[in-house]
Symmetry: C2
Subunit: 648 residues, 2 copies
């Protein structure tokens, strides 16, 4: 019999789960230790810190000049200049920062005195007031005063203040210790020498991200060796961890309710489960528990779920153990570029790519999967769709939590439309040369790109749409869809499209007609993509019927996805660019050469980011790197294509 | 003869200086090194990173159920249920995440099948489409695809992606190495065992802050031993540092133009000075130079100047050497609480305390001195007053760069008015119990506090203003100054005011009349402070003339400053609270007991921060800690004082 069904009894919302969990540890603080101030950055004071010394610790001159006793200067005026004797000690030469002589209480600036030739006397023309130009003892810090209260997190300037005040050691909260137990029989450690992955095995990668997140919150982390799916073994390991000096234990994963998921019974049998299942997606199979008064978190296995569960439930508690609250994420309001259906009753975390177009922030969702770690590495924003919502309409403004600094988001170039590998080359050059800029590309096909340009949802879009009437590229479709907007059309590359085939072309595919032979499984591109237009055009030209092609209804969204379908045996062939075939070590049967252009709104074209991008496109380095990919010609790269008279 | 005057030839603005300096190193990048992904947090890729493995690396079930070949299920319907044989291999039981059998291409969920009792057959009522509920190879990552471009800074999720893609090692930019040379004959190292500071010596504390700032930007730091003011020695040390593996060298300080300032000639003689003197305050005596193609920065000695110069000129360059741009500071618009005169021609960096009152951010300047490190440790915002400005009028809105997260600023309780040491106790308890809250107190005297409450510039104000007519406290003055605003008046403490005297009371001060005897030097408090009102009242009551008191015109702003004036010998006595005298180990001659209250606007009173504060004030822990300070009674602590009918 198969696994019993995933059942979460009494699921909690994110807010409820947090409250329940954090309330149980609200008073929990790690112990204290005394450390040197120079290594105290980011640490949190465990007790108030009082100054040992005053600063300045002596009265000192705040200016270069002479030190005097103010009351001996009161008679000086323009009418009655006063002569002070240096020999007799009425005035003493002094430099900024030097200690005041015991019997002096004011400084007269060098500009305001006239020295005698012999340097024995000096003349002043106005009186000094007491403590004029003197930095007095304790002006900055008074010995015994409170420098920092309990719970203060040390920043660089604090270190200088502490040292100035004579505090070389301070008492701080210990860094909480987190133990992570990676569990799962399918997991293997990534070994440097491994050249291929054993079938059915998954590399254990979550612990690295969970560890880094915990360390950012000030924790120390111990990662246990991978443990197999086995209840007794897991309980044993868990109990050992809880009984050690760990302040928190995480089991990753096995937190769902399948036949091989032992995290729930392990926590249940050793302690208390506060909640199993939280109404968030990704992150639903999260377990919050307590064993021997220590927090134990069952974190889901899918990487995005794991990171979200970690950030929501474990990280704030680790910070709280040191007596600090982590700053809330920065948010902005952004226009959502497309409809986002959402399941009611579940709070959904959608990873977004955010950019600034003109004065407006726009946010495009990345795909949903909890397993797609690249949706997190590519995202620079997070949209939380409330459990109550039925989804979000494209074009509405929503609050986005930023995953990157705002300045970085402002300098993100949003590129959409058709994908081409030369965009990777461009993005790499862009960021290498000008670190503040970055290129974020999403793939929605050529037509999708034109729509995005029309709607003001991107800075540029790649397109290779063949006009079947005249064999031209892009111009007609752009004119058809976009009216009243000034655009530039810049040729990026010419590239070969053809059949991506298995190495050695075992099914002997040599033309589009070959697809009907030899029981060939085809993999198609999505409607609206330039490659699909090209394929349909070629079918038509050769009088072939798409119904005769096995796999015509199987669609992928990128050249690389087509290549991987061929590599993994899902398909025998698909139409794509040569560079994709080459990148995967596959064969390639050329069909046509096509032009791939960038569409750029005039308003964007003049921005510094785009000016820099154009410079790179026209540069030697870009062209050489693109040609090296194979299947490309850069003979017209950077040229502007006339769109003719535009209909405004 | 004294030092030659400070002369900066050809000073540059901050912008000019940065441009000049950074342009010279715009292409400078540190070398590259290969490191393990698990320790790559915050590091920057030196080359594009491509995936070694696809993820998933095998087709796997995305649901629990049975694996089938889709085309064998096409006939299934409600009308014609289809029986599949598990024995014959038409269907195979499968769990989520497990590899798909070689000859299967779809999964049917467990909910959609009916198993036979014996488990040998199963019935389905609808067909599966190809690749239904299958996680396909490369769905997340395609082997050979670009994971990260050059210049990408690694965050936790990136590590999981890298490991998943089989990249255990990546090539990153080396951390730039910074060498700091602390220079100055007056400097000493803080030694743990040091019980008192040698006269005229200053503890070298800047290097700790500069080091921490550089490390935050990803640099490694080497701090040289302190070097005396000596040109030959400095040149020697500088040249050795430049010829080492350092990427940048900082000399701190000696960057001004005094007789003992050798930083300028040292750089000049060994290399090139790009600018000496920058039109910023603090930070003016900054030197930007180049020796042997390496950047050399002369950083001023005053701690605030040092940190500002470091942040403006050294830190961005250290980040740039790794190919990263640091995020810009977050800013908010805040109402400036008082007039800020400013010198034209100099860009002024004013440290501010920012808080949120209702929906408005308000920012109060801290004092100006470049020597006052506590103005940086207490500030949570920075106001840059442009060189062209003649100052800022109180009440205007200005852009403030935040030095703390906004959530922390939103949770800052702004307390002003008269200072009392019990506020330190309160602040400490507040932050210890509820890490998100903090108390920021500034001292402007009781009357200043009432004005601040009137103007909506603080959350609460301490006051101990004696009404000389009826001997009551605060009520009359509040009613005189504030109309039309609902307020609460809460008693914080009763405290003893009296004469702070040297230990053993050597001048035998026993009453206010004693101040006219024994050549006594008095230190006064500023006008508007409750202590000044009290003193003037006592003078009047005793028919004494303030002109007869030596030092009546010498004013300090806090009890602690009065105490330190007595301790340092500037004065024999001053009026202040007993706890201040005790904190400094001084004697105390009681004069009166007075009431110290907190004034809190009704609108603030109900906020969570203030509710929590009131809870603490009424708690045992606060009262005990205050009584322990000495000179306090908490007999009415937390009581509300009636303000009577308010004039609206």
């Amino acid at each position: 019999m198969p696994a019993k069904r995933n059942v979460y009894l009494n699921m909690k919302s994110r807010g409820e789960a947090k409250q329940l969990f954090f309330a149980r540890f609200s008073g929990y603080r790690t112990g204290q230790e005394t450390i040197g101030v120079r290594s105290s950055g980011g640490r949190v004071t465990a007790a108030p810190v009082f100054a040992r010394f005053s600063s300045p610790s002596f009265h000192s001159a705040a200016m270069d000049g002479i030190a005097v006793l103010a009351r001996e200067t009161f008679s000086a005026s323009d009418q009655a200049p006063l002569t002070l004797s240096l020999e007799a000690g009425q005035a003493v030469m002094i430099n900024t920062g030097h200690p005041m002589p015991q019997d002096k209480d004011a400084v007269i600036m060098i500009e305001d005195i006239v020295m005698a030739e012999d340097g024995n006397t000096t003349v002043i023309r106005k009186p000094a007031y007491p403590w004029q130009h003197v930095r007095k003892v304790g002006e900055d810090i008074v010995a015994s005063e409170l420098l920092f209260p309990t719970g203060h997190q040390i920043v660089p300037a604090d270190m200088a203040a502490l040292i100035t005040a004579g505090c070389s050691q301070i008492s701080v909260r210990c860094r909480p210790k987190l133990t992570i137990i990676p569990s799962g029989s399918e997991l293997i450690e990534l070994d440097d020498t491994l050249s291929e992955l054993p079938a059915g095995k998954t590399i254990e990668s979550n612990s690295a991200a969970l560890c880094a997140l915990a360390e950012q919150a000030g924790a120390r982390v111990w990662i246990e060796p991978i443990i197999e799916d086995d209840l007794a073994g897991l309980k044993n390991r868990l109990l050992t961890a809880v009984k050690s000096d760990a302040d928190m234990v995480i089991i990753n994963a096995g937190s769902s309710a399948g036949s091989a998921d032992y995290t729930l019974p392990a926590i249940e049998e050793l302690g208390e489960v506060l909640t199993h299942g939280i109404t968030i997606m990704p992150g639903k199979p999260t377990i919050l528990g307590i064993i021997e008064n220590k927090p134990v978190v069952g974190i889901p296995g899918y990487p995005v779920s794991a990171i979200i569960a970690m950030e929501e439930f474990a990280v704030p508690l680790l910070a709280g153990m040191q007596g600090i609250t982590l700053p809330a994420s920065r948010t902005i309001e952004a226009v959502i570029t497309k409809d986002l259906p959402s399941k009611s009753g579940i709070e959904e975390f959608r990873r977004m790519v955010v950019g600034k177009i003109g004065e407006t922030y726009v946010a495009t969702p990345l795909k949903k999967g909890a397993g797609a770690i690249t949706t997190l590495t590519r995202a620079n924003g997070m949209l939380k769709i409330e459990a109550g919502a039925e989804g979000i309409k494209g074009g509405t403004k929503k609050t986005i939590e930023l995953l990157a600094p705002r300045s970085r988001i402002d300098a993100t170039i949003l590129c959409t439309g058709s994908h081409d590998l030369s965009l990777n080359v461009l993005g790499d050059l862009l960021q290498k040369n000008e670190p503040s800029f970055s290129l974020s590309s999403s793939h929605v096909g050529s037509l999708g790109g034109i729509i995005a340009i029309k709607d003001g949802m991107c800075h540029m879009a790649g397109s290779h749409l063949l006009d079947v009437n005249d064999g031209s590229y892009n111009v007609q479709t752009i004119k058809k869809y976009i009216k009243g907007k000034d655009l530039r059309l810049i040729t990026l590359v010419y590239r070969e499209q053809g059949f991506i085939v298995k190495p050695g072309n075992p099914k002997n595919i040599h033309s589009i007609a070959s697809l009907l032979e030899n029981d060939i499984k085809f993999i198609n591109r999505q409607a609206g993509s330039g490659t699909r237009v090209l394929f349909d055009y070629e079918l038509d030209r050769n009088h072939l019927d798409c119904d005769d092609i096995d796999g015509y209804d199987q669609e992928e969204y990128t050249h690389m996805a087509v290549a991987v379908a061929v590599l993994s045996g899902r398909a025998d062939t698909g139409l794509g660019i040569k560079s994709a075939a080459q990148a995967m070590g596959l064969g390639f049967v050329p069909l046509v050469e096509e032009r791939y252009d960038l569409i750029i709104p005039e308003a964007v074209f003049g921005t510094p980011a785009m000016a820099h991008t154009m410079e790179l496109i026209n540069g030697r380095e870009f062209k050489q790197a693109v040609e090296a990919l194979g299947g490309y010609s850069t003979r017209e790269t950077g040229n502007e294509v006339s769109l003719g008279p535009q209909i405004l």
